[in-house]
Homo-oligomer: 307 residues x 2
Amino acid sequence: MADSVSPVERGILAAVLTPVTENLAPDIESWLAHCRRLLTEGCDGLAVLGTTSEANSFSLDERLALLDAAAAGGIPGAMLVPGTGCCAIPDTVALTRKAVEIGAAGVLMLPPFYYKPVSDEGLFAAYYEVIQRVADSRLRIYLYHIPQNSGVPITFGLIEKLLAAWPDIVVGIKDSAGDFANMEAMIDTFPGFRVFSGSDEFLLPILRAGGAGTITACNNIAAARSARVYADWRNAAAEDWHREVVAVRQTITRFPLIAALKEVMAQATGRPGWRLQRPPLQALSPEDAARLMGELGKVGFAVKQAA
Amino acid sequence: MADSVSPVERGILAAVLTPVTENLAPDIESWLAHCRRLLTEGCDGLAVLGTTSEANSFSLDERLALLDAAAAGGIPGAMLVPGTGCCAIPDTVALTRKAVEIGAAGVLMLPPFYYKPVSDEGLFAAYYEVIQRVADSRLRIYLYHIPQNSGVPITFGLIEKLLAAWPDIVVGIKDSAGDFANMEAMIDTFPGFRVFSGSDEFLLPILRAGGAGTITACNNIAAARSARVYADWRNAAAEDWHREVVAVRQTITRFPLIAALKEVMAQATGRPGWRLQRPPLQALSPEDAARLMGELGKVGFAVKQAA
């Protein structure tokens, strides 16, 4: 975790959960502890303030405070890829500036996501405004394709326009739509463009296809396994680890994703407060929690209980 | 526009456009002038900071400043129904508090709209947090059903729960989904619940069905006609006016809605700046603008050119 690490560009990133206090404010100390734990467990980087982080449920000030806390807490900026895309350009600019300021390796930028459908020209204009206003050559943007939440897909036409305009700034994408053919096609069409999968299922396939790695929710609890896949992806041995990661993912996704991961964190840390979420998201029922832990046990995922 | 007007509860409301400056900041003076013009033309109230207002493209501070400007500019709070629903509860609370502070007749509250699908229990919890934190008996909430943008429909089950918990606070809904059967069913199912249509097509039908009126984008340019319908809706004479309103609506909606309305405003006021929008939304092309004005002319809608 030395400050001299080079900015993360590939590998295993966690879409970092955000624990909250009883008052539903970000629990900064628990969050920092979680960030440190993830780096220890083998994450190459931390995608904080993304979908799994409930970022859009936090105000701009709350999000800026989390980024300041990461810097003050010694999380190396080079390992951070914070989510910064909001509906309103001034918010995206403020968050992106802060990310650059703390030395983030890059930002994961949702398109403005209230209006739909919107044209590629309109989206290009939105990125134009952000990039012009941030006005910093250190900026590195990963696009964020998650149409099931945003309602605003990132098309090949848009990527092409953005790469033509800012080849040094627009460096990659996180594809959370779950269609591997789309990821492969981006890798083939845009050489050098770093394509991360948002789904653990494609960890090994995307590395073999020349992709950059994964940025996933399950890496909050399965980073050690994912890291083994990444370390060894050229060898058949990686396949066993990959099967384990996929089994965890498939179990977790039978439940509301963030609630399920927070349940595991509550059990692993012995802190019931980990279960809390900002509405409209909610904790699992005790019945679902018990079922989740049972099913995770069946796929060999044992939660290390806190002492 | 006396300060003693009673809070608007029925009638014709405009979903007020927000003009922006060349720097894409809200153009407060033009906006106030537009608000005043709409009240003069017969609007019973002003739904500022909604979808047509590009509210989600403005930061919290920009939106708070607009509400302050309305109060300072003498727009009676009793005629305002500002949009206040954001993805993040603290933002919704801050905007809602400001609306109550300036004496707004009510607020039009989008549900948190990033996560989908979400349960009615989760949405209820989100409203609970907002209402508890605003903690003001003057608060009046209109729900906002616009699943084509929000991705989060307002179900009958949710309305029932909200009315049971806060019968004096949750007073109505704006239904922008365009399904008249849903509006009729809400009117029948929830007596006293004020149902506004977000589509001009249903202005006369919803009044006849016992609904509250319309909150529409086209009322930015057709308020005088809509007001004639509202004044006379019990009589057959209203039908001619209604046909005119519907013709304008049908013409406008063949184009991107906000862009088309801003084009009409640019021509009516002689201020080209009215065409500007925050990305990802964009102005009409000159070709589309010419086509729009031609088609509006064919349905008898003449733009009064500025002197």
